[in-house]
Symmetry: C2
DNA sequence: CGCTCGTTTGAGAGGTCTCAATTTGGGTGG
DNA sequence: CCACCCAAATTGAGACCTCTCAAACGAGCG
Protein backbone atom coordinates (compact mmCIF):
# COMPACT_ATOMS: atom_id res chain seq x y z
CA UNK A 1 0.00 0.00 0.00
CA UNK A 2 1.19 3.46 -0.87
CA UNK A 3 1.92 5.82 2.02
CA UNK A 4 -0.72 8.31 0.92
CA UNK A 5 -3.35 5.57 0.79
CA UNK A 6 -2.51 4.81 4.38
CA UNK A 7 -2.80 8.49 5.21
CA UNK A 8 -6.25 8.71 3.69
CA UNK A 9 -7.44 5.68 5.62
CA UNK A 10 -5.85 7.04 8.76
CA UNK A 11 -7.96 10.16 8.40
CA UNK A 12 -11.21 8.17 8.45
CA UNK A 13 -13.33 8.84 11.54
CA UNK A 14 -12.98 5.17 12.36
CA UNK A 15 -9.18 5.29 12.53
CA UNK A 16 -8.35 8.95 13.17
CA UNK A 17 -8.23 8.64 16.96
CA UNK A 18 -6.62 5.22 17.12
CA UNK A 19 -3.17 4.89 18.63
CA UNK A 20 -0.27 4.67 16.24
CA UNK A 21 0.48 1.04 17.12
CA UNK A 22 -3.15 0.06 16.70
CA UNK A 23 -3.37 1.53 13.25
CA UNK A 24 -0.01 0.12 12.22
CA UNK A 25 -1.01 -3.36 13.31
CA UNK A 26 -4.34 -3.17 11.49
CA UNK A 27 -2.73 -2.00 8.27
CA UNK A 28 0.17 -4.43 8.56
CA UNK A 29 -2.12 -7.46 8.57
CA UNK A 30 -4.48 -6.08 5.94
CA UNK A 31 -4.61 -6.87 2.25
CA UNK A 32 -4.99 -4.19 -0.37
CA UNK A 33 -6.56 -5.71 -3.45
CA UNK A 34 -7.59 -4.46 -6.86
CA UNK A 35 -10.73 -5.72 -8.55
CA UNK A 36 -12.27 -5.18 -11.96
CA UNK A 37 -15.93 -4.11 -12.20
CA UNK A 38 -18.61 -6.69 -11.50
CA UNK A 39 -16.64 -8.82 -9.05
CA UNK A 40 -18.47 -10.22 -6.04
CA UNK A 41 -16.41 -9.43 -2.95
CA UNK A 42 -18.57 -11.03 -0.28
CA UNK A 43 -21.70 -13.15 -0.16
CA UNK A 44 -24.48 -12.88 2.36
CA UNK A 45 -24.44 -15.90 4.64
CA UNK A 46 -20.65 -16.11 4.61
CA UNK A 47 -18.76 -15.60 7.82
CA UNK A 48 -17.45 -12.12 8.39
CA UNK A 49 -13.72 -12.50 7.91
CA UNK A 50 -12.66 -8.98 6.97
CA UNK A 51 -13.58 -5.39 7.56
CA UNK A 52 -13.59 -3.78 4.13
CA UNK A 53 -12.42 -0.28 3.28
CA UNK A 54 -13.10 1.07 -0.20
CA UNK A 55 -9.97 2.98 -1.17
CA UNK A 56 -10.83 3.52 -4.81
CA UNK A 57 -13.77 2.80 -7.10
CA UNK A 58 -17.31 1.94 -6.10
CA UNK A 59 -18.87 -1.00 -4.30
CA UNK A 60 -22.54 -1.97 -4.24
CA UNK A 61 -24.00 -3.67 -1.19
CA UNK A 62 -27.06 -5.69 -2.06
CA UNK A 63 -29.33 -8.29 -0.55
CA UNK A 64 -31.43 -11.09 -1.98
CA UNK A 65 -34.56 -13.01 -1.11
CA UNK A 66 -35.13 -15.95 -3.39
CA UNK A 67 -34.85 -14.58 -6.91
CA UNK A 68 -35.46 -10.97 -5.84
CA UNK A 69 -32.60 -8.59 -5.24
CA UNK A 70 -32.24 -5.06 -3.91
CA UNK A 71 -29.41 -2.58 -3.56
CA UNK A 72 -28.81 -1.67 0.07
CA UNK A 73 -26.17 1.01 -0.36
CA UNK A 74 -23.26 2.24 -2.45
CA UNK A 75 -19.87 2.62 -0.81
CA UNK A 76 -17.37 5.04 -2.27
CA UNK A 77 -13.90 6.12 -1.16
CA UNK A 78 -13.19 6.31 1.60
CA UNK A 79 -15.86 4.25 3.28
CA UNK A 80 -16.07 1.02 5.23
CA UNK A 81 -18.62 -1.71 5.13
CA UNK A 82 -20.04 -4.58 7.19
CA UNK A 83 -18.59 -3.35 10.44
CA UNK A 84 -21.44 -4.83 12.47
CA UNK A 85 -20.97 -8.36 11.18
CA UNK A 86 -17.25 -8.15 11.89
CA UNK A 87 -17.72 -6.94 15.45
CA UNK A 88 -20.21 -9.57 16.50
CA UNK A 89 -18.46 -12.31 14.53
CA UNK A 90 -21.62 -13.01 12.61
CA UNK A 91 -22.42 -13.85 9.02
CA UNK A 92 -22.90 -11.15 6.42
CA UNK A 93 -26.45 -9.94 5.87
CA UNK A 94 -25.49 -8.34 2.58
CA UNK A 95 -23.44 -9.19 -0.47
CA UNK A 96 -20.99 -6.82 -2.11
CA UNK A 97 -19.86 -6.39 -5.70
CA UNK A 98 -17.70 -3.85 -7.45
CA UNK A 99 -19.45 -1.45 -9.82
CA UNK A 100 -16.20 0.02 -11.05
CA UNK A 101 -12.57 -0.94 -11.06
CA UNK A 102 -11.88 -0.75 -7.36
CA UNK A 103 -9.26 -1.01 -4.70
CA UNK A 104 -10.31 -2.47 -1.38
CA UNK A 105 -8.41 -2.79 1.88
CA UNK A 106 -9.37 -5.89 3.81
CA UNK A 107 -8.58 -5.96 7.51
CA UNK A 108 -8.90 -9.32 9.28
CA UNK A 109 -11.96 -9.29 11.53
CA UNK A 110 -10.02 -10.79 14.38
CA UNK A 111 -7.54 -7.91 14.34
CA UNK A 112 -10.35 -5.39 14.53
CA UNK A 113 -11.82 -7.12 17.55
CA UNK A 114 -8.39 -7.39 19.15
CA UNK A 115 -7.73 -3.71 18.62
CA UNK A 116 -10.91 -2.85 20.46
CA UNK A 117 -9.59 -4.60 23.51
CA UNK A 118 -6.37 -2.62 23.63
CA UNK A 119 -7.27 0.83 22.31
CA UNK A 120 -10.07 2.70 24.04
CA UNK A 121 -10.04 5.59 21.58
CA UNK A 122 -10.42 3.18 18.68
CA UNK A 123 -13.24 1.46 20.51
CA UNK A 124 -14.97 4.78 21.00
CA UNK A 125 -14.65 5.47 17.28
CA UNK A 126 -16.13 2.07 16.52
CA UNK A 127 -19.09 2.86 18.74
CA UNK A 128 -19.63 6.18 17.01
CA UNK A 129 -19.37 4.61 13.57
CA UNK A 130 -21.72 1.78 14.50
CA UNK A 131 -24.28 4.16 15.95
CA UNK A 132 -24.04 6.22 12.78
CA UNK A 133 -24.69 3.18 10.62
CA UNK A 134 -27.53 2.10 12.85
CA UNK A 135 -29.20 5.48 12.54
CA UNK A 136 -28.71 5.44 8.77
CA UNK A 137 -30.50 2.10 8.61
CA UNK A 138 -33.35 3.40 10.76
CA UNK A 139 -33.73 6.35 8.42
CA UNK A 140 -33.79 3.97 5.51
CA UNK A 141 -36.67 2.05 7.07
CA UNK A 142 -38.54 5.29 7.66
CA UNK A 143 -38.08 6.36 4.05
CA UNK A 144 -39.25 3.01 2.74
CA UNK A 145 -42.34 2.85 4.92
CA UNK A 146 -43.41 6.48 4.86
CA UNK A 147 -42.61 7.68 1.35
CA UNK A 148 -43.62 6.82 -2.19
CA UNK A 149 -41.06 6.01 -4.83
CA UNK A 150 -41.23 9.44 -6.44
CA UNK A 151 -40.73 11.09 -3.06
CA UNK A 152 -37.67 9.00 -2.35
CA UNK A 153 -36.23 9.95 -5.73
CA UNK A 154 -36.97 13.64 -5.20
CA UNK A 155 -35.24 13.64 -1.84
CA UNK A 156 -32.31 11.70 -3.18
CA UNK A 157 -31.88 14.29 -5.91
CA UNK A 158 -32.08 17.17 -3.47
CA UNK A 159 -29.52 15.60 -1.20
CA UNK A 160 -27.22 14.91 -4.09
CA UNK A 161 -27.59 18.44 -5.43
CA UNK A 162 -26.72 19.87 -2.03
CA UNK A 163 -23.67 17.65 -1.79
CA UNK A 164 -22.48 18.77 -5.19
CA UNK A 165 -23.50 22.33 -4.49
CA UNK A 166 -25.24 22.75 -7.80
CA UNK A 167 -28.55 22.49 -9.60
CA UNK A 168 -27.02 20.00 -11.98
CA UNK A 169 -26.26 16.43 -10.97
CA UNK A 170 -24.36 13.71 -12.74
CA UNK A 171 -25.52 10.29 -11.64
CA UNK A 172 -22.59 8.40 -10.12
CA UNK A 173 -23.96 5.04 -11.30
CA UNK A 174 -26.52 3.55 -13.66
CA UNK A 175 -30.18 4.35 -13.26
CA UNK A 176 -30.82 0.67 -12.83
CA UNK A 177 -28.74 0.74 -9.66
CA UNK A 178 -30.42 3.92 -8.47
CA UNK A 179 -33.84 2.39 -8.94
CA UNK A 180 -32.90 -0.61 -6.84
CA UNK A 181 -31.31 1.59 -4.20
CA UNK A 182 -34.53 3.57 -3.94
CA UNK A 183 -36.59 0.40 -3.76
CA UNK A 184 -38.25 0.29 -7.17
CA UNK A 185 -37.88 -1.17 -10.64
CA UNK A 186 -36.05 0.60 -13.48
CA UNK A 187 -39.36 1.15 -15.27
CA UNK A 188 -40.77 2.78 -12.21
CA UNK A 189 -37.78 5.06 -11.85
CA UNK A 190 -38.42 6.33 -15.37
CA UNK A 191 -42.00 7.09 -14.40
CA UNK A 192 -40.87 8.77 -11.21
CA UNK A 193 -38.63 11.03 -13.28
CA UNK A 194 -41.63 11.78 -15.47
CA UNK A 195 -43.58 12.83 -12.37
CA UNK A 196 -40.76 15.10 -11.24
CA UNK A 197 -40.70 16.78 -14.64
CA UNK A 198 -43.69 18.78 -13.39
CA UNK A 199 -41.46 19.99 -10.54
CA UNK A 200 -38.65 21.22 -12.72
CA UNK A 201 -36.55 18.08 -13.04
CA UNK A 202 -35.17 17.29 -16.47
CA UNK A 203 -32.72 14.58 -17.40
CA UNK A 204 -30.52 13.93 -20.39
CA UNK A 205 -28.66 10.70 -19.93
CA UNK A 206 -26.89 10.72 -16.61
CA UNK A 207 -27.14 14.48 -16.24
CA UNK A 208 -30.09 15.68 -14.16
CA UNK A 209 -31.04 19.33 -13.92
CA UNK A 210 -33.09 20.78 -11.08
CA UNK A 211 -34.56 23.96 -12.52
CA UNK A 212 -36.67 24.87 -9.49
CA UNK A 213 -35.25 23.68 -6.22
CA UNK A 214 -38.05 25.21 -4.14
CA UNK A 215 -40.74 23.46 -6.17
CA UNK A 216 -38.98 20.14 -5.92
CA UNK A 217 -38.51 20.59 -2.17
CA UNK A 218 -42.19 21.38 -1.78
CA UNK A 219 -42.97 18.04 -3.38
CA UNK A 220 -40.24 16.06 -1.63
CA UNK A 221 -40.61 17.58 1.84
CA UNK A 222 -37.04 16.75 2.86
CA UNK A 223 -36.68 15.80 6.51
CA UNK A 224 -33.33 15.67 8.34
CA UNK A 225 -34.72 12.77 10.34
CA UNK A 226 -34.91 10.72 7.14
CA UNK A 227 -32.50 12.28 4.69
CA UNK A 228 -29.69 13.40 6.94
CA UNK A 229 -26.33 11.79 6.28
CA UNK A 230 -26.26 10.43 9.79
CA UNK B 1 -36.60 0.51 42.52
CA UNK B 2 -37.14 -2.92 43.94
CA UNK B 3 -34.08 -5.15 44.30
CA UNK B 4 -35.42 -7.79 41.94
CA UNK B 5 -36.08 -5.15 39.28
CA UNK B 6 -32.43 -4.23 39.53
CA UNK B 7 -31.49 -7.88 39.28
CA UNK B 8 -33.48 -8.30 36.09
CA UNK B 9 -31.90 -5.26 34.53
CA UNK B 10 -28.49 -6.41 35.69
CA UNK B 11 -29.04 -9.64 33.77
CA UNK B 12 -29.57 -7.80 30.47
CA UNK B 13 -26.79 -8.43 27.95
CA UNK B 14 -26.10 -4.72 28.03
CA UNK B 15 -25.35 -4.69 31.76
CA UNK B 16 -24.44 -8.27 32.63
CA UNK B 17 -20.69 -7.80 32.17
CA UNK B 18 -20.44 -4.31 33.63
CA UNK B 19 -18.46 -3.78 36.79
CA UNK B 20 -20.42 -3.52 40.01
CA UNK B 21 -19.59 0.16 40.47
CA UNK B 22 -20.58 0.97 36.91
CA UNK B 23 -23.96 -0.64 37.27
CA UNK B 24 -24.55 0.88 40.70
CA UNK B 25 -23.78 4.36 39.42
CA UNK B 26 -26.05 3.97 36.41
CA UNK B 27 -28.94 2.73 38.50
CA UNK B 28 -28.34 5.30 41.24
CA UNK B 29 -28.81 8.23 38.88
CA UNK B 30 -31.68 6.65 36.98
CA UNK B 31 -35.39 7.30 37.37
CA UNK B 32 -37.91 4.50 37.48
CA UNK B 33 -41.23 5.83 36.34
CA UNK B 34 -44.70 4.38 35.87
CA UNK B 35 -46.89 5.45 32.99
CA UNK B 36 -50.48 4.72 32.00
CA UNK B 37 -51.19 3.48 28.45
CA UNK B 38 -51.04 5.97 25.60
CA UNK B 39 -48.41 8.26 27.09
CA UNK B 40 -45.76 9.69 24.79
CA UNK B 41 -42.38 9.12 26.38
CA UNK B 42 -40.14 10.73 23.80
CA UNK B 43 -40.57 12.70 20.61
CA UNK B 44 -38.48 12.41 17.51
CA UNK B 45 -36.34 15.50 17.09
CA UNK B 46 -35.83 15.90 20.83
CA UNK B 47 -32.35 15.60 22.22
CA UNK B 48 -31.45 12.19 23.56
CA UNK B 49 -31.38 12.71 27.31
CA UNK B 50 -32.01 9.22 28.61
CA UNK B 51 -31.39 5.61 27.78
CA UNK B 52 -34.72 3.88 28.33
CA UNK B 53 -35.23 0.40 29.74
CA UNK B 54 -38.70 -1.10 29.64
CA UNK B 55 -39.11 -2.92 32.96
CA UNK B 56 -42.81 -3.64 32.65
CA UNK B 57 -45.55 -3.14 30.10
CA UNK B 58 -45.14 -2.39 26.40
CA UNK B 59 -43.72 0.54 24.47
CA UNK B 60 -44.23 1.35 20.81
CA UNK B 61 -41.53 3.09 18.84
CA UNK B 62 -42.92 4.95 15.88
CA UNK B 63 -41.87 7.51 13.32
CA UNK B 64 -43.72 10.15 11.36
CA UNK B 65 -43.40 11.96 8.06
CA UNK B 66 -45.85 14.79 7.73
CA UNK B 67 -49.22 13.31 8.59
CA UNK B 68 -48.10 9.73 7.94
CA UNK B 69 -46.99 7.48 10.78
CA UNK B 70 -45.49 4.02 11.06
CA UNK B 71 -44.61 1.68 13.89
CA UNK B 72 -40.90 0.92 13.98
CA UNK B 73 -40.82 -1.65 16.76
CA UNK B 74 -42.40 -2.83 19.98
CA UNK B 75 -40.25 -2.99 23.09
CA UNK B 76 -41.22 -5.36 25.88
CA UNK B 77 -39.55 -6.22 29.19
CA UNK B 78 -36.70 -6.27 29.48
CA UNK B 79 -35.54 -4.27 26.50
CA UNK B 80 -33.78 -0.99 25.90
CA UNK B 81 -34.38 1.62 23.27
CA UNK B 82 -32.71 4.53 21.48
CA UNK B 83 -29.22 3.46 22.46
CA UNK B 84 -27.70 4.90 19.28
CA UNK B 85 -29.05 8.41 19.81
CA UNK B 86 -27.78 8.37 23.38
CA UNK B 87 -24.28 7.29 22.42
CA UNK B 88 -23.73 9.85 19.71
CA UNK B 89 -25.53 12.60 21.63
CA UNK B 90 -27.93 13.06 18.77
CA UNK B 91 -31.62 13.73 18.50
CA UNK B 92 -34.15 10.90 18.52
CA UNK B 93 -35.17 9.51 15.14
CA UNK B 94 -38.20 7.82 16.63
CA UNK B 95 -40.96 8.65 19.08
CA UNK B 96 -42.12 6.34 21.84
CA UNK B 97 -45.46 5.84 23.51
CA UNK B 98 -46.77 3.31 26.00
CA UNK B 99 -49.25 0.77 24.71
CA UNK B 100 -49.94 -0.62 28.17
CA UNK B 101 -49.44 0.49 31.72
CA UNK B 102 -45.67 0.48 31.86
CA UNK B 103 -42.67 0.95 34.03
CA UNK B 104 -39.60 2.49 32.44
CA UNK B 105 -36.12 3.02 33.81
CA UNK B 106 -34.50 6.15 32.46
CA UNK B 107 -30.73 6.40 32.68
CA UNK B 108 -29.18 9.81 31.99
CA UNK B 109 -27.42 9.73 28.63
CA UNK B 110 -24.36 11.42 30.04
CA UNK B 111 -23.91 8.66 32.62
CA UNK B 112 -24.02 6.02 29.92
CA UNK B 113 -21.35 7.81 27.94
CA UNK B 114 -19.26 8.29 31.09
CA UNK B 115 -19.55 4.63 31.97
CA UNK B 116 -18.14 3.71 28.57
CA UNK B 117 -15.01 5.62 29.37
CA UNK B 118 -14.33 3.79 32.60
CA UNK B 119 -15.61 0.26 32.05
CA UNK B 120 -14.23 -1.65 29.09
CA UNK B 121 -16.54 -4.63 29.59
CA UNK B 122 -19.57 -2.37 29.56
CA UNK B 123 -18.26 -0.69 26.44
CA UNK B 124 -17.88 -4.08 24.77
CA UNK B 125 -21.47 -4.89 25.66
CA UNK B 126 -22.60 -1.59 24.20
CA UNK B 127 -20.81 -2.42 20.96
CA UNK B 128 -22.45 -5.83 20.80
CA UNK B 129 -25.88 -4.39 21.53
CA UNK B 130 -25.44 -1.63 18.96
CA UNK B 131 -24.28 -4.06 16.31
CA UNK B 132 -27.26 -6.25 17.10
CA UNK B 133 -29.66 -3.33 16.67
CA UNK B 134 -27.91 -2.30 13.48
CA UNK B 135 -28.31 -5.75 12.01
CA UNK B 136 -31.97 -5.82 13.07
CA UNK B 137 -32.52 -2.58 11.19
CA UNK B 138 -30.78 -3.91 8.09
CA UNK B 139 -33.02 -6.97 8.17
CA UNK B 140 -36.01 -4.70 8.48
CA UNK B 141 -34.97 -2.86 5.32
CA UNK B 142 -34.53 -6.15 3.51
CA UNK B 143 -37.99 -7.34 4.54
CA UNK B 144 -39.59 -4.08 3.45
CA UNK B 145 -37.90 -3.97 0.08
CA UNK B 146 -37.96 -7.64 -0.84
CA UNK B 147 -41.26 -8.94 0.51
CA UNK B 148 -44.93 -8.26 0.00
CA UNK B 149 -47.21 -7.44 2.89
CA UNK B 150 -48.69 -10.92 3.09
CA UNK B 151 -45.21 -12.42 3.13
CA UNK B 152 -44.13 -10.18 5.98
CA UNK B 153 -47.22 -11.20 7.94
CA UNK B 154 -46.66 -14.89 7.26
CA UNK B 155 -43.07 -14.69 8.47
CA UNK B 156 -44.04 -12.67 11.51
CA UNK B 157 -46.58 -15.35 12.43
CA UNK B 158 -44.06 -18.16 11.96
CA UNK B 159 -41.51 -16.38 14.11
CA UNK B 160 -44.07 -15.72 16.79
CA UNK B 161 -45.29 -19.31 16.74
CA UNK B 162 -41.75 -20.58 17.14
CA UNK B 163 -41.15 -18.22 20.04
CA UNK B 164 -44.30 -19.41 21.78
CA UNK B 165 -43.58 -22.99 20.77
CA UNK B 166 -47.10 -23.60 19.56
CA UNK B 167 -49.37 -23.54 16.54
CA UNK B 168 -51.62 -21.08 18.32
CA UNK B 169 -50.66 -17.43 18.78
CA UNK B 170 -52.25 -14.72 20.83
CA UNK B 171 -51.48 -11.30 19.42
CA UNK B 172 -49.65 -9.23 22.02
CA UNK B 173 -51.15 -5.98 20.72
CA UNK B 174 -53.91 -4.67 18.49
CA UNK B 175 -54.01 -5.62 14.83
CA UNK B 176 -53.84 -1.95 14.02
CA UNK B 177 -50.40 -1.83 15.60
CA UNK B 178 -49.34 -5.04 13.87
CA UNK B 179 -50.36 -3.67 10.50
CA UNK B 180 -48.28 -0.56 11.02
CA UNK B 181 -45.34 -2.60 12.29
CA UNK B 182 -45.48 -4.70 9.14
CA UNK B 183 -45.73 -1.61 6.96
CA UNK B 184 -49.34 -1.69 5.80
CA UNK B 185 -52.79 -0.37 6.64
CA UNK B 186 -55.26 -2.16 8.94
CA UNK B 187 -57.49 -2.91 5.96
CA UNK B 188 -54.61 -4.47 4.16
CA UNK B 189 -53.71 -6.61 7.15
CA UNK B 190 -57.22 -8.05 7.07
CA UNK B 191 -56.75 -8.89 3.43
CA UNK B 192 -53.36 -10.40 4.12
CA UNK B 193 -54.97 -12.66 6.72
CA UNK B 194 -57.55 -13.61 4.11
CA UNK B 195 -54.74 -14.62 1.75
CA UNK B 196 -53.11 -16.73 4.45
CA UNK B 197 -56.37 -18.53 5.06
CA UNK B 198 -55.51 -20.60 2.00
CA UNK B 199 -52.31 -21.61 3.81
CA UNK B 200 -53.99 -22.82 6.97
CA UNK B 201 -54.12 -19.60 8.98
CA UNK B 202 -57.36 -18.90 10.82
CA UNK B 203 -58.04 -16.12 13.28
CA UNK B 204 -60.71 -15.51 15.88
CA UNK B 205 -60.13 -12.18 17.51
CA UNK B 206 -56.58 -11.99 18.78
CA UNK B 207 -56.08 -15.73 18.62
CA UNK B 208 -54.41 -16.97 15.45
CA UNK B 209 -54.15 -20.65 14.61
CA UNK B 210 -51.59 -22.07 12.21
CA UNK B 211 -53.08 -25.36 11.07
CA UNK B 212 -50.37 -26.24 8.57
CA UNK B 213 -46.96 -24.89 9.45
CA UNK B 214 -45.28 -26.45 6.43
CA UNK B 215 -47.74 -24.89 4.00
CA UNK B 216 -47.38 -21.49 5.60
CA UNK B 217 -43.59 -21.78 5.53
CA UNK B 218 -43.72 -22.71 1.85
CA UNK B 219 -45.54 -19.46 1.20
CA UNK B 220 -43.50 -17.31 3.58
CA UNK B 221 -40.06 -18.70 2.74
CA UNK B 222 -38.56 -17.71 6.10
CA UNK B 223 -34.95 -16.61 5.90
CA UNK B 224 -32.65 -16.27 8.93
CA UNK B 225 -30.99 -13.35 7.15
CA UNK B 226 -34.26 -11.43 7.36
CA UNK B 227 -36.28 -12.99 10.17
CA UNK B 228 -33.58 -13.90 12.65
CA UNK B 229 -33.81 -12.17 16.02
CA UNK B 230 -30.43 -10.59 15.54
C1' DC C 1 -78.73 -2.81 26.90
C1' DG C 2 -76.49 0.35 24.02
C1' DC C 3 -72.49 2.86 23.12
C1' DT C 4 -67.72 2.95 21.45
C1' DC C 5 -63.89 1.54 19.18
C1' DG C 6 -61.44 -1.86 16.68
C1' DT C 7 -61.96 -4.87 12.80
C1' DT C 8 -63.76 -6.40 8.52
C1' DT C 9 -65.68 -5.83 3.94
C1' DG C 10 -66.58 -3.30 -0.28
C1' DA C 11 -65.59 -0.12 -4.07
C1' DG C 12 -62.62 2.68 -6.57
C1' DA C 13 -58.31 5.14 -7.29
C1' DG C 14 -53.48 5.22 -7.33
C1' DG C 15 -49.11 3.13 -7.09
C1' DT C 16 -46.10 -0.62 -8.45
C1' DC C 17 -44.85 -4.79 -10.91
C1' DT C 18 -44.13 -7.72 -15.04
C1' DC C 19 -43.78 -8.46 -19.85
C1' DA C 20 -42.82 -6.66 -24.25
C1' DA C 21 -41.46 -3.42 -27.70
C1' DT C 22 -38.87 0.68 -28.86
C1' DT C 23 -35.63 4.18 -28.39
C1' DT C 24 -31.43 6.03 -26.68
C1' DG C 25 -26.70 6.43 -25.70
C1' DG C 26 -22.10 4.77 -24.82
C1' DG C 27 -18.42 1.87 -26.23
C1' DT C 28 -15.91 -0.75 -29.57
C1' DG C 29 -13.76 -2.03 -33.60
C1' DG C 30 -12.91 -1.03 -38.19
C1' DC D 1 -13.48 9.40 -36.84
C1' DC D 2 -17.36 7.03 -37.80
C1' DA D 3 -20.61 3.35 -38.03
C1' DC D 4 -22.17 -0.30 -35.72
C1' DC D 5 -23.75 -2.79 -31.82
C1' DC D 6 -25.35 -3.84 -27.49
C1' DA D 7 -26.81 -2.73 -23.09
C1' DA D 8 -29.44 0.59 -20.73
C1' DA D 9 -33.40 3.35 -20.58
C1' DT D 10 -37.98 4.56 -21.90
C1' DT D 11 -42.73 3.75 -23.13
C1' DG D 12 -46.92 1.06 -23.27
C1' DA D 13 -50.35 -2.34 -21.63
C1' DG D 14 -52.30 -5.08 -18.25
C1' DA D 15 -52.28 -7.39 -13.78
C1' DC D 16 -51.48 -7.05 -9.02
C1' DC D 17 -50.84 -4.91 -4.77
C1' DT D 18 -51.86 -1.21 -1.73
C1' DC D 19 -54.22 2.90 -0.25
C1' DT D 20 -58.32 5.76 0.83
C1' DC D 21 -63.00 6.41 1.85
C1' DA D 22 -67.15 4.50 3.45
C1' DA D 23 -70.13 1.41 5.61
C1' DA D 24 -71.23 -2.74 8.16
C1' DC D 25 -69.98 -5.81 11.77
C1' DG D 26 -68.61 -7.33 16.40
C1' DA D 27 -66.59 -7.43 20.91
C1' DG D 28 -65.92 -5.13 25.30
C1' DC D 29 -67.47 -1.96 28.79
C1' DG D 30 -70.16 1.06 31.29
Amino acid sequence: MKPDDAAVIRSLPLFADAREETFAELVRTAFLQRFPPGVTLINENDEADFLHVVVEGQVELFATFGERETTMSIVEPVGTFILAAVLNARIYLQSARTLQKSQVLMIPAEKVRDAMGTDAAFTRAVVTELARGYRRAVKEVKGQKLRTGAERLANWLLQRADAEGAGRITLPFEKRVLSSLLGMTPENLSRAFAVLKTHGVTSRGAVITLADRAALAAFARPDPLIDGPE
